[in-house]
């Protein structure tokens, strides 16, 4: 198997396979960013955070890069500009302005009690972003003299980066003999109301114990339970928007899966594929129990290595196609922009990214007050849902482009409340809402 980046000239780092689509498609309503952040009891000092960021870039040299446009592809190359920490703005996961960030693909943000890391997806995925944040927090604690906490699976500061950290496993796993994964037709998209590019957040906090119990009663995992609730809410919204049953399009959710554990890689680049879970409302109304069964079955199937390898084959084969490979970036860019919806967002009705549980070391358990994960919404799917668990809580963040419409969030939270789960909501929407 060929590793494309091995043949690259010095100072040239090829984007990983799933990152290729992000730079050309970056635009208003298509930020391709995410944010992970931690809130602390103590006040954050900018100078200390800058030291921590310096350490982070020293340890993770593969993050000390800028994005450049090559003749055939976008590529990364070492960035010698100083990295900056930014004060937190009004909303997370907005459009990334590389210039303001000295060309870096991730942004360290802080507010009085928060340290956050906002990342352009071309650099890494959620797991990679969290690994950077963990190291950043560890180094912050160290420089602030608070302690030396060590996260369970964090990067070791004093160790040299391993080869695996900056490898692109997609290229390793590519097998051209496999059949390609089939593409699917259009999914249902909500019409919603007016929208603008401000990211409006509704954050729901729930107790892990409660949701675990409700999910267990239905023989589902927490992720499957939340995906089922999401599908159920979308189904109800679709019924209002499309009263004629046979005209209803399939409702699909895109559920990012971290492939590191499945394939045993420790890369710090993108290594995620999307599981698609769907229901066919044209066949009739699905009860929540039916949706739960569908989601459970489809999630198990989606995690099958064979299916994942077939998906990887499809994605990498596209990159290796000689016509695509040797077409100039100037021609590929507009085509990627025009085709990305058809091959991506068009196929699903919503995205739910479940980060899972993040264990904290003892030193942090009393000082961390909140952990957040935010996704950038898109133009077709204007509400994105990101889930993260810590200590005894789970935070569900809805990021939305809708100016006023909160119907999906309303349905989702009301369902949880009716199912016996306490939900606490907060928002950055205007005070009257």
């Amino acid at each position: 198997m060929i590793r494309i980046q091995n043949h690259a000239p010095e100072g040239f780092i090829a984007l990983d396979n799933s990152a290729l689509i992000y730079p050309p498609t970056e635009a208003v309503y298509n930020a391709n960013t995410f944010r992970v952040s931690m809130d602390f009891r103590f006040t954050i000092k900018k100078a200390v955070l800058e030291q921590a960021l310096h350490d982070l870039l020293h340890r993770c040299s593969y993050a000390k890069v800028g994005l450049h446009t090559g003749f055939f592809w976008y590529y990364l190359s070492p960035n010698e500009m100083p990295a900056i920490v930014h004060e937190e703005g009004p909303y997370p996961s907005g459009r990334f302005t590389f210039k303001e960030n000295n060309g870096y693909l991730f942004k360290v943000i802080y507010s009085s009690h928060r340290i956050g890391l906002e990342c352009f997806h071309a650099l890494t995925d959620g797991a990679g972003g969290m690994a950077y944040l963990k190291l950043l927090v560890e180094r912050y604690y160290y420089h602030a003299g608070i302690g030396k906490p060590e996260f369970a699976d964090s990067l070791e500061f004093n160790a040299r980066p391993t080869k695996q950290e900056f490898s692109d496993p997609f290229q390793h796993l590519y097998d051209k003999k496999l059949p390609s994964y089939p593409t699917i037709n259009k999914a249902f998209h909500r019409k919603g109301g007016s929208y603008d590019d401000r990211v409006k957040v509704i954050s729901a906090t729930i107790l892990t114990e409660q949701i675990k119990e409700r999910a267990k009663a239905r023989k589902l995992t927490i992720g499957e339970y939340l995906s089922s609730v999401y599908l159920y809410c979308l189904q109800q919204l679709q019924q209002i928007e499309e009263p004629v049953q046979y005209k209803r399009k399939p409702i699909r959710l895109s559920v990012p899966m971290n492939l590191r554990k499945i394939f045993g890689y420790d890369t710090m680049r993108n290594f995620t594929l999307f599981a698609i879970v769907e229901i066919e409302p044209s066949l009739g109304f699905y009860s929540f129990e039916e949706i739960g069964q569908e989601v459970h079955t489809q999630m198990v199937q989606a995690q099958s290595k064979k299916r994942l390898l077939s998906q990887i084959k499809r994605n990498v084969a596209g990159e290796r196609n000689p016509v695509i490979r040797f077409a100039p970036t100037a021609l590929k860019n507009p085509l990627f922009k025009l085709l990305s919806d058809y091959l991506g967002d068009d196929q699903y009705s919503g995205i739910i990214s479940n980060f899972g549980y993040v264990p904290f070391p003892k030193e942090l358990q009393d000082t961390v007050t909140r952990l957040d994960f935010h996704l950038s919404p898109g133009l077709l799917n204007k509400v994105a849902l990101a889930v993260i668990g810590y200590l005894d809580k789970i935070i569900i963040n809805f990021t939305s482009f809708y100016t006023v419409d909160t119907e999906l969030e309303h349905q989702f939270c009301t369902f949880l409340v009716e199912d016996g789960i306490d939900v606490e909501v907060a928002t950055n929407r205007n005070s009257e809402r």
Partner: protein
């Protein structure tokens, strides 16, 4: 900490309303909650930013690339064929075609905006193609016609015109007069047929249209039957043809007479009489209609 009475969710301290359904929070009198820290450091800006969406950006890039590739291909081909002297027309046409496509993508998807840009670019194309030798003739006719089309076929649909109907009608009339004056001068180097033919024709058509408009608007019932509409327009067209023949004969022969439009004139008079009849006499109208609900 308050709960939303409608959704049942807990709200953050100090929340005035539920973020999910907008239901207001009413605390018992005398109780004041501390305000919780906001979700983010800064409040949400009042407006979003403007920018070009992904699909639009893609279309723009594609048009620019195809435009550049087209220009280069033609230029190189002509250069190889040693015919660079003839390169202006194809290069200019490709450029205008690219600009026209860019206008389709960039302008608001409204008829007035799109049609205005296309009229402008078409006029520039005409003037450019005709002006290779710095002598303009046919393009002036084309450009003036496009301007007339804009005043009569695009501008009346604008928001301003809808708000100022009388002014826009006058502007339309003025544009027709200016167009005819311009055409007369362009074709004959001085005013010839404008005063004896065009001006009386404009006056006649305006008068007839005005009458038709008054007849339609003065009716008791506002619903206008399609037949009345068609017949009214027919009277204007046939009458205008007759008037044209009348004034043209005077301009060409020096006396007023009808040469080829006599039958058209008679037809106009018959239809007009019929319209007056159905308007004046209810009995007459009922004779010709299948129902008796008209005024």
């Amino acid at each position: 900490m308050a709960y939303c009475v409608r959704c049942g969710v807990k709200l953050t301290d100090g929340a005035k309303s539920c973020p999910l359904c907008g239901t207001e929070v009413h605390l018992p009198a005398g109780i004041e909650e501390p305000v919780a820290e906001p979700l983010f450091a800064e409040p949400l800006p009042k407006e979003g930013t403007k920018g070009i969406t992904k699909a639009k950006k893609g279309m723009l890039e594609l048009i620019i690339i195809l435009g550049v590739v087209g220009e280069l291909t033609v230029a190189i081909s002509l250069w190889i064929a040693n015919a660079l002297a003839y390169s202006f027309i194809p290069l200019f046409s490709i450029g205008i075609a690219a600009l026209s496509l860019l206008a389709i993508v960039l302008a608001k998807p409204k008829y007035v905006q799109q049609a205005s840009w296309q009229c402008l670019l078409m006029a520039v194309l005409f003037l450019g193609l005709d002006g290779v030798d710095f002598a303009w003739f046919w393009s002036l006719i084309g450009a003036a016609s496009l301007l007339l089309f804009w005043f009569c076929g695009v501008f009346p649909w604008s928001r301003w015109a809808a708000e100022h109907k009388k002014v826009s009608a006058l502007m339309m009339l003025a544009s027709i007069i200016v167009f005819l004056v311009f055409m007369n001068i362009l074709l004959s180097q001085r005013l010839t047929w404008f005063a004896p033919v065009a001006l009386p024709m404009i006056a006649f058509i305006t008068f007839m249209t005005g009458l038709f408009y008054i007849w339609l608007t003065a009716r008791k019932i506002k619903r206008i039957p399609v037949a009345d509409m068609i017949l009214g327009i027919l009277v204007i067209i046939l009458g205008s043809c007759t008037a044209f023949d009348f004034f043209l004969t005077h301009y060409q022969k020096g006396f007023f007479a009808l040469r080829w439009a006599t039958s058209l004139g008679i037809a106009a008079v018959i239809i007009l009489t019929f319209l007056i009849g159905v308007s004046v006499s209810l009995r007459f109208r009922r004779f010709f209609t299948s129902h008796n609900q008209h005024d």
